[in-house]
Amino acid sequence: MSGLDKVVTSYDEALAGLQDGMTVLAGGFGLCGIPEGLITTIRDMGKKDLTIYSNNCGVDDFGLGLLLHNRQIKKMAGSYVGENKIFEQQMMDGSLEVELIPQGTLAERFRAGGAGIPAFYTATGYGTSVADGKESRNFDDRDYIMERGIVGDFAIVKAWKADRYGNAIYRLSAQNFNPIVATAGKITVMEVEEIVEPGELDPAHIHTPGIYVNRLIQGTFEKRIEQRTVRQG
């Protein structure tokens, strides 16, 4: 790393400064578009009492499930999280704190956090348990609840290609939460399939401008499929 060049060559360097008790935001939807190597590194570092914001929490032996397995997560905040048995056990025995957030609210909380917006109003969740303890307000004859922007100590995301400056593009639906999570980290670490030289990517096609990216690392990806569904023929 020097100047605008964000490339780091080791995972230790990519996640340097991560401490016990920090808040980590993670991109991905299910196992699609997750920063596989960064998650594995957090596991290997053994940092504990982490608060994780991510739409999902992986499966028992892959993705964020690895951190659950190692009991490194104190609090998990996401929209749909019960797809692994370890999660269920830790939630039931009280060792894991869980915050369930409507998916659109989660996305908007990342977006707001990254854009310097501390809070916003949404109709989502009004009249449900999601509204408990939250300020509500009526605009134009409709009720809304206030939700807070999220900023993480670290944001970990996965992109397809990025240039050395961190200008990145995503592939297909592996985009999902990654662009907004990338905006919301005090330190944003991006793991990509391919790093190219500045100028190689069409500037008009950049999804995440490099200004949001602090560290960039090239990884290798298993890309595990959660629900393999096919057509016959």
Binding site: S79, V81, G82, G104, L172, S173, P179, T229
Partner: protein, 218 residues
Amino acid sequence: MALSRDQIAMRIAQEIKDGYYVNLGIGIPTLVSNYVPSNIEVMLQSENGLLGMGPFPYEDSIDADLINAGKQTITTVPGAAFFSSAESFAMIRGGHVDLTVLGAFEIDVQGNIASWMIPGKLIKGMGGAMDLVAGADNIIVTMTHADKAGNSKLLEKCTLPLTGAGCIQRVVTDLAYIEIKEGKFHLIERAPGVSVEEIISKTAGEMVVSGNIPEMQW
């Protein structure tokens, strides 16, 4: 005869109009895509960041980077677009999706919906359901009229934690097509061969029946 899952999907598909952007939930709603008339153009929205969802892929074209909101491998149709989750829910919460079809555990006469959580059972989360019911004007809920023990799911007041309050106006069950207005269920159509009396007996909330109730057609 109560409708099969596919027959429910066929009835709902009649509500899809040419040029619609449609979000289909998991389960029976997904089946609706099989019955969209071939002479109209429709785009299916998948809330993980895709407009223009196509059918499941053939074995040799599976791509781990291309999934739907149910995490199933899928394909795209010509004219599809990918975008971030924030963009996806801007479409949903901003009211840009023309029709949303989703399942539920319970509905009540006030248009409340409970679809995401059964206390005492494993809680997985609401995913995008709360955003969908809060953001869409045009929602069709589909579910069986009663549970396996025969208890009605169309109630005076929902007993389970709500997904949204006062947001549901149309329900298609295996027995009937029902509208909700002014704090009552209104029977609009019945499944072929199912009597009005049977539907009323399996509906716990107040049901208005006015005039002759036609059988569903498709």
